[in-house]
């Protein structure tokens, strides 16, 4: 009888949990302004009143960052398996199916080749609306293949992170995706191809503790939550409220882990500027860098 009032986990699904606001009007969570939804969408979900950056879909980032008609996605068909036969209140396979239906995508990251202001890049964009942007086998593999593609085509790599961390439903296999992606990045580094990591709200857990923090440059959107442990867990540990602005982008700049906070609408231009600098390869200096290239200070055979 009391069950009528209780949310049973099985009956809430889909429409109520949508990330993108529906309807004509939307409330800004930061300044509470009432905003016209269409206008907000055109403004890439930045509140025109207070500048608050709301969560953006991977599609919109692709539109925002790539030159028109240049986006060539790969590995779009890759899908998760259920290696642990995992179920909590729901089966993992059902959760995946629900996320696929909700987002119209197969997983929490899109990867592709594109041009950014004329620069040839490989771009990976995570999507929070797919199981909280959690990283399991597919995300790990797609990020790894994006790295491989960048190496193969000698392109710069840009990753837009938005993720709650590793995907529990794939257990230790998810955990190992941290090692997998980080290890793979060493090959990109060896080729001296730039990797620019852009952290958006939120980027936490194992995602931050692997590829997201390993950019040659780490950029962040304003006021994004970025950290290893979630604020709730830390609060529990220390038994007191967290200081204002703790684990926000600006806090990470202050503490030395993010190079710049870049507003969303300036991202494309800023990345282009950095790519221009990092790929300039002035011939006279290039030779200097290649002769000091020997790994780990070991002596060479020749």
């Amino acid at each position: 009888m009391a069950n009528w009032f209780k949310r049973t986990s099985d009956n809430l699904e889909g429409s109520k949990k949508r990330e993108l606001p529906e309807g004509l009007w939307v409330n800004c969570k930061s300044c509470e302004a009432v905003l016209y939804a269409k206008k907000l969408e055109r403004n890439y979900y930045i509140c025109p009143e207070c500048g608050h950056h709301m969560r953006l879909s991977s599609e919109s980032y692709i539109t925002l960052l790539t030159d028109e008609g240049t986006w060539k996605p790969f590995e779009e068909g890759m899908k998760s398996q259920d290696p642990l036969d995992f179920r909590d209140s729901k089966k993992y396979t059902d959760r995946i199916a629900a996320s696929m239906k909700k987002t119209g995508r197969n997983e929490a990251v899109q990867v592709g080749e594109a041009n950014l202001d004329g620069h040839e890049i490989v771009l990976a964009v995570m999507d929070f609306s797919f199981l909280g942007g959690s990283v399991g086998s597919v995300v790990g593999e797609k990020i790894s293949r994006a790295i491989d593609r960048a190496i193969q085509k000698k392109r710069s790599l840009i990753i837009i992170s938005c993720s709650g961390g590793m995907r529990m439903q794939e257990g230790v296999i998810s955990l190992m995706q941290m090692a997998k992606t980080s290890a793979r990045l060493t090959r990109l580094a060896k080729e001296k191809l730039p990797f620019i990591s852009v952290l958006t709200d939120p980027t936490t857990g194992g995602t931050t503790a692997s590829y997201s923090m390993l950019g040659d440059l780490n950029l962040a959107e304003p006021e994004a939550l970025i950290g290893f442990a979630g604020p709730r867990v830390i609060k529990q540990t220390i038994g007191q409220d967290l200081p204002e602005g703790f684990q926000r982008s600006e806090f990470l700049v202050d503490h030395g882990f993010i190079d710049q906070v870049v507003p969303r609408l300036e991202l494309k231009q800023r990345i282009a500027e950095f790519l221009l600098l990092l790929t300039a390869k002035s011939p006279s200096f290039k030779s200097v860098s290649s002769s000091s290239e020997k790994e780990g200070g070991s002596t060479s055979e020749d």
Binding site: E75, G77, M78, S80, Q81, P83, L84, F86, R87, D88, S89, S137, V138, G140, E141, S144, M166, M168, E170, G171, V172, I173, S174, L175, M176, Q177, M178, A179, K180, S182, A183, R184, L185, T186, R187, G205, G206, T208, A209, S210, S212, M213, L214, I226, G227, F228, A229, V233, I234, T237, I238, P243, F246, Q247, H255, G256, F257, E295, G296, G297
Partner: protein, 319 residues
């Protein structure tokens, strides 16, 4: 006896106590009950086998966290000929939740690095329950780089509930410290082995775990999140850790089936806390054997293998 006993061990302990009593009774020589004692001992043996070979995953977690289980320094004391501890990350401070140093094992010089838990409240606070801050991971990396520079192989011992989730840890870049270790360890130009001796708790464990060979002790666990953490997020009830532990598949056998680890080291029946020397000698044998194996592989090849090994972990369908 102030022995630490789990619920599932109680029938065994009761029986053992009874045997003990009978031994005392028999000691004065007035009655001969040796047949009865033998029978009971046989029964105890059977019961031990039965209980410990049917442990569920949550019970195994409890053994992995047993307060009398040997920790990193207990192993170091038993497997090395000599050990010199090195302190500090050269950036901020010395993190006591990680022990690092240079040693020889059977005269082979190497670096040993491991999470260190403390026994009892005071020492546990000193060791921060084996939960490192960023400076712990940076100390570990510094010592690994030192080992690389002087051509010493590296052994890491993994035993942590996880990286410390606190204010200072976040301020000083817990995520960056872990990520940096994953990245740097993948291309270290010396052989590197990890042994999970107790709890392999998530990223905090993996930050010492990107290695050429991964070995787990029989009653250790390795997991993306603690069963309690998983239960409180997915089941909204930390008391369902039991269920979460099953679902997460965290035992050495599970990881062997998933082709993540290379070897499982035997422990005495009931767990390492019953016989430290026995486990330590098994760990030592395994380390020596793996080092011999790795020594033969060209280092550039070994690094590519290391990167590819992790690269091959994952289950997915392609169109």
């Amino acid at each position: 006896m102030n022995k630490f006993v789990f619920d599932f061990e109680k029938p065994i302990v009761e029986l053992e106590n009874k045997i003990q009593e009978m031994h005392e009774l028999a000691a004065d020589g007035k009655v001969d009950i040796s047949t009865e004692i033998d029978q009971l001992e046989e029964k105890a043996e059977k019961l031990r086998d039965e209980v410990y070979s049917n442990l569920n995953r949550w019970q195994r977690v409890q053994i992995a966290r047993h307060p009398r289980r040997p920790y990193t320094l207990d192993y170091i004391e038993r497997i090395t000929d000599s050990f010199q501890e090195l302190h500090g990350d050269r950036l901020y401070r010395d993190d006591r939740a990680i022990v690092a140093g240079l040693a020889t094992i059977d005269s082979v010089p190497l670096a040993i690095i491991g999470h260190q838990k403390g026994r009892g409240t005071k020492l546990n606070i000193f060791r921060n329950f084996g939960m490192p801050h960023p400076e712990g991971y940076r100390k570990a990396l510094r010592v690994m780089k030192l080992a690389e520079k002087f051509g010493l192989p590296i052994v890491t011992l993994i035993d942590t509930p996880g990286a410390w989730p606190g204010l200072g840890a976040e301020e000083r870049g817990q995520a960056e410290a872990i990520a940096r270790n994953l990245f740097e360890m993948s291309t270290l130009r010396v052989p590197i082995i990890s042994v999970v001796i107790g709890e392999g708790g998530s990223g905090g464990a993996l930050a010492l775990g990107v290695t050429d060979r991964i070995i787990m002790l029989e009653y250790s666990v390795y997991s993306v999140i603690t069963p309690e953490g998983c239960a409180s997020i997915l089941y909204r009830d930390a008391n369902l850790a039991n269920k979460a532990a099953e679902a997460l598949r965290i035992t050495p056998t599970d990881l062997q089936e998933l082709e993540i680890i290379d070897e499982i080291i035997d422990e005495p029946v009931g767990g390492a806390h019953h016989d430290w020397d026995f486990v330590a000698s098994n760990v030592k044998k395994s380390i020596i054997c793996k080092l011999e194996e790795l020594k033969k592989i060209d280092i550039d090849e070994l690094i590519e293998e290391r990167i590819d090994k992790y690269g091959n972990i994952g289950f997915f369908d392609e169109d």
